[in-house]
Symmetry: C2
Subunit: 349 residues, 2 copies
DNA sequence: GTGAAAGCGCTAACAA
DNA sequence: TTGTTAGCGCTTTCAC
């Protein structure tokens, strides 16, 4: 069956270039890849013709014959979350610098999507897969997921921003304990003792690890943990709002609230405002992720930053080195740092 | 009588499946694509083997031999902007439904990147390109860009969320005039007459069109336009903050502020708060885009929504139809609608 | 330094 | 219905 071509312009190939230059396709390929030396005059002639037609070699054919596609697949939980979009963009920039390109798919919280997307990326023969969030966030790794990843790792390296037990996947994670440590030391240094924790689910490793450190620091300073000061939920403004409402209805209110991320913090801000309390005079708020949200709320949020640029670079660097068969550490950690803004201040009590 | 083979390292191909099923590769291809009928028993046997090995055909080889890759390239200005991420995700979902997959790259405000990314997508042989923001936002189309697009359209359809003069690109745009119309009628209906406009650049078509409608509505109601009520800038919170500061320093303050987007609105909110004014009692704020930011500020923002799901679907539908050589309208418009929240109220003056 | 030829994994035209 | 045979556009031995 004749496939109807909507265009007349034939795509030009390496053979067209070769013909016009009076050389073989192999020679053109050589100047394209720089894989072998070509006599200077021929090389220049070929380059001129390539330029003239603005010829771009077909990446599909290249990937087929070559072993590498110079493509890295990224599965993000949801790029609409500024945490992921920031990370993705810095990955994109880092990859570009290294001569790679990235592709993005979103798992959107469905593990079925996630597995399916792994297959799609595999079909596209990406050189490595980076998974940001999703199943790799689980405190307890899902068995069927681990199984799937194990099968993939034989051929394609997988880098995750979390952990994947019993798999050869490489891990580049934020040091969550350190992150919480920074926050707690900051608040306690400001004189706070009644500190609440808002949002997040304990089945998520990063949240669980933060909670562990929260407890540890409380113990360190001899502060008793109060169950009613820890209100879990999800990671959105609603959770922050509802949880904070609950906490502020307590007789003995906390003087500081730690929100699991900037979204939850924005909800906390709303609740606090509605209770006619002032930030940070009456109550301090600190959160994690330091997305642009932290900079746009009133007041601006003190938040834990991860240096997204360095994070993205490390992710891509790890992916490329693994793809090229180099030695790569199994686990690498990102060091967080606290960005002070307007939402945290001395305890007045 | 199945030979158990462990294919850990080697990727399995259509030939392996064929060999094991005792048929030719073409037959396997036929059941894979459904392009021709295959005897039921053979078909089932083949499917069983495919299942067994969890075989996934190489998309590169497929794209190379086929005319279509079932891949749509998307160039976004910056996916960190929730406007683009929302649009991208709904494109992704719509594409998936139609059996296509999407790839995302960010131009990040550099027209060089933009052109380069077009080349990369072309090399990847995407079936269509959707460009969201960037050069296609320009009121006056850049010549060299138009030239480039013209060259591309011969082979690959281009869909833009803006306009591209003198090119065969298809356009799916928000009806900006209508958007501003909704906002102005809303405010005037609430009794506002002193209405300011904050943020945005006039070289951007969407901003310019909004401004034109702003003027038109003022005229319609016999309200004189005041130059000092229109403060341009960019599209970020800083601009909204600075511009609002300027406006609130005026002797005759406006009773309503229209921000060019939710980011700028968040800056306006901060400025207003610092001036100890109340929203919406003292001053109303309305913005465009209805991103999640509108829902997380205090107060929540009245903002113009574009139905991102429908927008994404229309974009993808247009791309696919164009890719398949079907007839497609040159320009299609997205109808905006106003989402009322807490930031707008009756004029008290 | 260069070309011929084989092949990457798949689809499709043509026979049978 | 099915197999054979050409490619798709590029890279890469292997000779020369």
């Amino acid at each position: 069956m004749e496939k109807e071509r909507l265009n007349t312009a034939r795509t030009i190939t390496i053979y067209d270039i070769a013909a016009e230059a009076g050389v073989s396709a192999s020679t053109v390929s050589r100047v394209l890849t720089g894989s072998a030396s070509v006599r200077k005059e021929k090389k220049e002639k070929i380059q001129k013709i390539i330029e003239k037609y603005n010829f771009k070699p077909n990446a599909l054919a290249k990937g087929l014959s070559d072993t590498a596609t110079k493509n890295i697949g990224i599965i993000a939980a949801d790029v609409r979350n500024p945490y992921y979009s920031a990370l993705f963009v810095s990955c994109e920039i880092a990859a570009e610098k290294a001569g790679y390109s990235v592709g993005l798919v979103n798992s959107l919280g469905f593990s079925e999507r996630e597995k399916n997307e792994l297959d799609v990326l595999l079909q596209q023969r990406v050189d490595a897969i980076i998974q940001m969030g999703g199943s790799v966030d689980d405190l307890i790794t899902d068995d069927s997921y681990a199984e799937k990843i194990r099968g993939i790792c034989d051929n394609t390296p997988v880098i995750v921003t979390g952990k994947l037990d019993k798999t050869p996947a490489h891990s580049v994670v934020i040091d969550e304990s350190r992150a919480m440590n920074l926050v707690m030391e900051h608040l306690i240094g400001l004189g706070h003792k009644k500190i609440a924790l808002v949002g997040g689910e304990m089945r998520v490793a990063s949240t669980f690890n933060k909670y562990k450190m929260y407890q540890e620091i409380l113990r360190k300073y001899g502060i008793e943990e109060r169950g009613e000061y820890v209100v879990n939920g999800t990671y959105d403004p609603e959770t922050g709002y509802d949880a904070t409402n609950k906490i502020l209805s307590l007789d003995d209110r906390p003087t500081a609230i730690i929100a699991i991320n900037d979204f939850a913090a924005s909800g906390a801000l709303r609740s606090i405002r509605e209770h006619k309390l002032y930030i940070p005079e009456d109550i301090s708020v600190v959160s994690f992720d330091n997305t642009y949200i932290a900079d746009l709320t009133v007041p601006k949020l003190t938040s834990v930053d991860y240096d997204y640029v360095a994070y993205g670079e490390l992710l891509i660097d790890t992916a490329i080195r693994a793809a090229e068969g180099k030695e790569v550490e199994k686990i690498q950690k990102i060091d967080p740092r606290l960005v002070l803004r307007e939402s945290s201040g001395p305890c007045k009590e």
